[in-house]
């Protein structure tokens, strides 16, 4: 069972790898599109990497609701 902090840290590493954003800038209130340079295509990569890392299933229909890092962290914590 991953904690919110663990998921945030893992997600920050994924965003860093994909968009080149420093891990410390990946905070719960940050918007993927507006703050982290993760467009809709790169978001698919983030989702696939997050599924692999946390063993969560993030359905395609759910991806549009994950607007902030906090949205993604909460979804993953609730679904692993």
């Amino acid at each position: 069972m991953a904690t919110q902090t663990e998921v945030l840290e893992g997600l920050a590493e994924i965003v860093n790898e994909i968009a080149g954003i420093p891990v410390e800038d990946v905070a719960l209130d940050k918007s993927f599109t507006d703050d982290l340079d993760v467009d809709s295509l790169s978001m698919v990569e983030v989702v696939v990497a997050a599924e692999e890392r946390f063993g969560a299933k993030i359905p395609d229909d759910e991806v549009k609701n994950l607007k902030t890092v906090g949205d993604a962290v909460n979804f993953i914590v609730a679904n692993v």
């Binding site: 994909i18 968009a19 080149g20 340079d37 295509l41 790169s42 698919v44 990569e45 696939v48 599924e51």
Partner: protein, 422 residues
């Protein structure tokens, strides 16, 4: 703003090539007669019939940040690096915006071509699909593999809104892009166009495919001497990769902003062979018609032409047909034309060839010096023309001089570009 037949000039150049990662190093390599062809040491090359290629001298990963590079096919990476160099060289900083008086985005275009497009992305992602499954195929695959990706990405980089185009004509693609760009400015559609060619096809499948056409040199034991246009023993082309990009601009626009002008981009001559899907027409009739078309439709005197950057890929038939056509069309003027086959050093960049060879032609006029053709040990008896061999050759120091850059492609596409000192 819509006046026809406007004069077009070259105000910026950029090159990412087997001889160097920028235009200056590329030019230095050409004048030094350096070969960019090396043995392929990758594991995948071990069993191939052809194990040599001219790969870029600098890996793009050394220049582009990873998040940028991972969303671009290698061909677009090359084009972006060369375009950034050309853009800066032309004196522009940052993208065109509505706030700058110097250049409105609506007056700026890009025309960048490749012969094959994102072939390595396509093949690599197919491997990912087979080996790792559906979820692992990159969502960037389509925008990476589409052949217009280099033009579109450079368009995004500079903020081009007059039009982003990608003519495709195999090995004539880069030249066709530059010809198209000249027409865009001439006709009044744009004031500035970033134009060129790029290719990144050093991968086992394209190599085997070209090799099975009997089109490539199999001189695996002597890579540096494998690309040998006009030599009696030439046995096919050597695959190269890279990009060449120029900034073309209306003469008025360049003058208004006080831009440095390398030379005039006079125009293009075009034709098609209707002969064979891959073989050159042996008498050079199609090439002749392209050269004739150039002189028919442009104000250029044959006596002004002192240099040709030939297509000359080092294939037995093609090199000869091109010289026959030049001889037929230039007649007595051919005597004072210094012909260079720079593919002897760079290998054949396919759709990138017209790009880097335009950069070479522009620099030849600018410095008034023709680069050498290396590896001509014994000149083919059928080559009755003044080939610049081994050492660079000075071009006339006085007066207005012009140069042609030839590119031909599978499918029977013939493109002749003309440039002239100002």
């Amino acid at each position: 703003m819509t006046a026809e037949n406007r004069t077009v000039v070259v105000t910026g150049i950029g090159a990412f090539t087997p001889l160097g990662g920028d235009a200056a190093t590329f030019w230095e390599g050409l004048l030094a007669g350096r070969s960019g062809v090396h043995a392929l040491t990758e594991e995948w090359a071990a069993e191939l019939p052809v194990r040599i290629a001219a790969k870029v001298a600098v890996e793009p990963s050394e220049i582009l940040p990873r998040p940028v590079a991972r969303k671009l096919d290698r061909s677009a990476q090359f084009a972006l690096i060369a375009a950034r160099e050309a853009w800066k060289d032309a004196g522009f900083e940052g993208p065109a915006t509505a706030d700058t008086n110097e250049l409105a985005p609506e007056r700026l275009g890009t025309v960048i071509a490749s012969g094959i497009g994102g072939v390595t992305t396509l093949l690599d992602q197919y491997d990912v699909l087979k080996q790792q499954g559906v979820r692992k195929v990159s969502p960037h695959t389509v925008p990476m593999l589409m052949p217009n990706s280099p033009a579109a990405n450079v368009g995004l980089e500079v903020g081009a809104r007059a039009g982003v185009h990608t003519p495709v004509s195999a090995c004539a693609s880069g030249a066709e892009a530059i010809g198209y760009a000249i027409e865009m400015i001439r006709s009044g559609r744009a004031d500035v166009v970033v134009a060129g060619g790029t290719e990144a096809a050093v991968h086992p499948l394209p190599i085997v495919a070209f090799s099975n056409m009997m089109a490539m040199s199999k001189n695996n034991d002597d890579p540096e001497h494998a690309s040998r246009p006009y030599d009696k023993a030439r046995d096919g082309f050597v695959l190269g990769e890279g990009a060449g990009v120029v900034v073309l601009e209306s003469a008025e626009h360049a003058a208004a902003r006080g831009a440095r002008v390398y030379c005039e981009a006079i125009g293009q001559g075009l034709s098609s062979d209707a002969h064979h899907i891959a073989q050159p027409e042996p008498t050079g009739a199609g090439v002749s018609r392209a050269i004739a078309d150039l002189f028919d439709r442009n104000e250029l005197d044959k006596a002004e032409v002192v240099h040709v950057n030939a297509h000359a890929t080092s294939t037995p038939q093609g090199d000869t047909a091109e010289i026959k056509a030049l001889s037929r069309e230039l007649g007595e003027h051919l005597e004072h034309v210094a012909i260079s086959a720079t593919k002897s050093m760079t290998g054949h960049l396919l759709g990138g060839a017209g790009g880097i060879e335009t950069v070479a032609t522009v620099l030849a006029l600018h410095h008034r010096i023709a680069p050498p053709t290396i590896n001509v040990v014994e000149l083919d008896d059928d080559i009755d023309a003044d080939i610049v061999r081994d050492e660079p050759r000075k071009l006339p120091v006085e007066g207005r001089i012009a140069a042609l850059n030839n590119s031909f492609g599978f499918g029977g596409h013939n493109v002749v570009l003309a440039f002239r000192t100002v």
